[in-house]
Amino acid sequence: MIERVVEVLIYVTLIASLAVPLIYSFGVRRVRVHLAIAFASTILYTIAGVILLSLAGNGQVRFYNGLVVHDSFTSAMVLGSGLTALLVLISIERKASYWSTHPALYSLLPLTLFGVFYLAGAMDTLVVLAGWLLVSVISYVIVALPDDLDSAVASSRYIMVGAVATLLIGLWAASNVVVASSVGLEGFRLSSYTDDKISALAFTAIIAALGFKVGVAPFHWWLPSVYGRGDGRVIAVVAGIAKLGFIAVIARIIVEASRSPLAYAGVPASKYIAAGLAALAVATMTYGNIAALTPRNVQAILAYSSIAQVGYILVGLSAAAYFADTSPEATSIALAAVALQSIAYALAKAPLFAMIPEAGRDLADLKKLAARGRGVTLAVMMLILSLLGLPPLLGFWGKLYLFLAAAGYSLLLVAIALINSGISSAYYIRMIREMLRTEQAGEKAEITDTTEASLIIAAILITLLGITAPLLIQSFAPII
């Protein structure tokens, strides 16, 4: 019964997204109304996330006869996307109404959430495909919403590379249907394939496609261009909200693939997959962290650091893959860690990206933030420190549990992750140092109160969730 409530709340996001352009065309031009609809639906979606998470604590929550299934991991991602969307909305507030594309953002944001719900819970090839298409297309459009040239350029790049990725996911879906003869969960499993060459092709295709979305090296080429040059407010949607859905689905596909009772030359498939993911994790972390070391453009640093953060998440995913066929408990712990880290990432990154258009892209502009006030300075500092992984902030627990989960698989991988975390301190601390420089009394950053509020709320959330993280992770039900 209560699942129906969740379903209804999810439909509200769809209705809201359709209602905004509809009432606009009927002459309701007041942005407050559009904003209120977006806000209300996002709040309801977040409530749905809370309900879902509590339901999932007792076991899987099934929708549409099992086509969409949410467990503790995916429902945490749903809740995380809701919270992030609230932060983004607070930050953007009425500002999207200045764009000629108004009121698209207030419509597309709830629609993104709607897509994330299905994407994260997809148990069926076709649902994955549908969710992918919905969220991807919205992402491309959202990046293009602002009127400036940079946004247009970023969006067109995103679309072009995304088109190739869509071809790849199509290839994967086709392989599932034709070769593995299953559109359901069976299709995700490598053992369903009769031909190893095709299973390799299909698996490569899905990892390359979803890897492209979340920014896994070496499929990440588009990301610095889009994250680094697009308007920060729309990048916050792509980098924060949509990404959680993609991480959830890539995790599910990887875990299901690794569960295949298959062995290549005596070695279980899960170990191959874990090793491959570990290699991608190392490449991704290292690439992101090193590339982020020297730019003076804050948005570029945030873009590269997004790559690095996905690298840490891959560390957890490789551990989840490694234990998938032998220890469901260890896999559950690894996935819980992935959820914590992903949410910590989204909650910190989204408001930071959203702040850039007002605060300025240059490192020196950070100083102006400090001139604006202690509250906002402290909040930005805490968000950065959470990304760095400082206790007791949420980012610390995310990394801690990720690395603990991976320690059972490979200490070398954990060591490399720790070293990477150390390298990342160079640019995170550099940002904080720039912000706290006092040698020149600077002008104040001209950020709006709502942007400031979203930063402060994010910092409070990160702290509160950080303090309660060990309890939250205990409430996670095992992932079956």
């Binding site: 072009m160 492209f212 080429w221 610095p224 020297t294």
Partner: protein, 687 residues
Amino acid sequence: MSEPLSYTITGFLPWSLTWLLPYLGALVLSLAYIAGFKGERLYGLVSVASILLSALISTLAAYRVFTDNAIYAKASVAWFPWLGVTFGTYIDGLGAVMALVVSWLSFLIAVYSLKYMEGDWGFPRYFIIFTFFVASMQLVVLADNLILLFIGWEGTGLASYALIGHWYTDEEDKWVGVPGRRALGKPMYFEPSHSAVRAVLFTRVGDVGLVIGIAAIYLASGTLVIPELASTATGWLAELASKGILPAILLVFTLGALAKSAQFPFHEWLVTAMTGPTPVSALIHAATMVKAGVYFMLRFAPILIAGAIALGTQAVVEGLRDYFLIVAGLGAITAFALATMALVSNELKLILAYSTASQLGYMFIAAASAGLLLGFAGMEEVASSVMAGLSHLVSHAVFKAALFLVAGWLIHVAHSRFIDRMGGYARYMKLTAISLWLAGLSLAGIPPLSGFFSKELVIHYAEEAGVSWIFFLAVVTAGLTAAYTIRMILRVMHLEPLEADSHVKAHEAPKLMLIPYLVLAIASLALGVGWSYTSGLLSKASELTIGLVEKAKLSVELTGVTGVVIALVLGSIGSVYYLYSIARVDFRDLIERNTLARYLHDFLFDRWYINSIYYIVIVGSFSYAAYAMYALDSIIDTIYHAGVPMLGALGAMALRVLHRGRTDYYLAMYAYFISLALLLLYLFWGR
């Protein structure tokens, strides 16, 4: 093994006030200092009063001990339950005598300091630390366990450091040594702040040994309480001997004592400690703190010996003999070497400092001789030898304190620490001259002064111990002692100054300064004249001391050796008198003209070059190590501050160069890497 010593257990507080009261005094003064009180009167009064109270309680305690029984004032609350350590004050014969000596000398010297330090800019600080020192010293001699003893021990070290560096602004008149003088290229003059650090470093080496020794003995015995260590000695001695580490552990345990009492090779710190105010030299660096090492030996030698006798194992006896031989040997070397240095020194306090270390060597000889008697002498002999050490400790404390206090006045009069600028003072200050003669003759070992008896006893037991070279050095040192003492007295009191200073107006010391040293000088005479009473008291103390529990025989008999020693002493005195007063030999001229004499003089004057060798070998090697570390550090710093950032910057640039901002290029890269992944999978994937 002799009977275990019985003791009366009492409440903690009354007898522990002996050391708690001065601590309380120091605390009150510290608070006053923090609160900003400036008046000298307050600091002087509280300090002197708390020390006097401590002295009175010590006297009562001694009375109780001598008329009744040893006292064990035990706290009812365990202090370190997991170590089985109680919190208590233990007063037996040895402790009672030590507490009497420490507290009454401290009181007299505190009174002297009131005048001596008058108007000094560090007056409050001086009295705070002085009082703290007295408390710590009392704690050392009365602690019932090794932890408490160690706390007191370190407290005295801290106070010593602070008072040696009291004049830390390092004006030249507060230095020790001849400004500009170098030996083997190393400076032989020391500022107060430098001397203070030296004292800490030298004693620290020993203290580390002491801590290791305490730990080792605890591991072997399971207790840190001194009376329990005595009653379980057989067990832990056997345990250590069975592992073959008995002499080594005991030596490490004794390192602290050797360093504290400035025995060779740790003696260097005491020499330069003379940068402190003279009353401090008198109290800490002559009468009390430097005696802590001797006390340590007197406390533990009987426990070791009694344990070995009870055990009767050959391995333990041999182990102990090895240990005692080394300690006695170091004592003998110190006694001799430092006495030779005193012969040529031209600084009044330095002469006394050399003399102190030399006399401390005697005390070590006596305590260790008791151990060397092990196996072929009875417990009475052993107790007598130990008590010979204690009697020399007591008589030395009295006469050396007097000598230092006189020196303080003379340095004040001469405005110089060098005896070359002093002379002929006897006619201006009769009472001071009498004090100096009485105390000096006691040091020289002339009957019937106390120094004669105690030194004779030490030499007697050195002979009994049967190690001929140690005995020989002890005898020769007696002659040297008489020589440098008389040289010093003649030059400052009776001969004309070598470098006259017409501005100096010599006169008698103010009463507050005069009375303390006069009292002490007379005491050293009285202790000697009444030796039968003194020795009776010490003999009784021996009976009441843990591990001994036997009357000591402390009467001096006239033997051949005594005759030889007396003849040697008188001969020395006669020679010095002849050379300086009759022949009026110009030694400065002699050194100028005669190369051999110059070499000999420089060798002794520059302290056998030991200081310079320390600086070259130890300080030098640390300097080189520091340079090496610095070089290594620079390389590491360069790697971190230049290499790593450069690599990072290059890496960051190289990686970002790959993002060229062209969509076709991104697509190509994407396709390329997907193909690469497929290729790799096709190579390795497959059943």
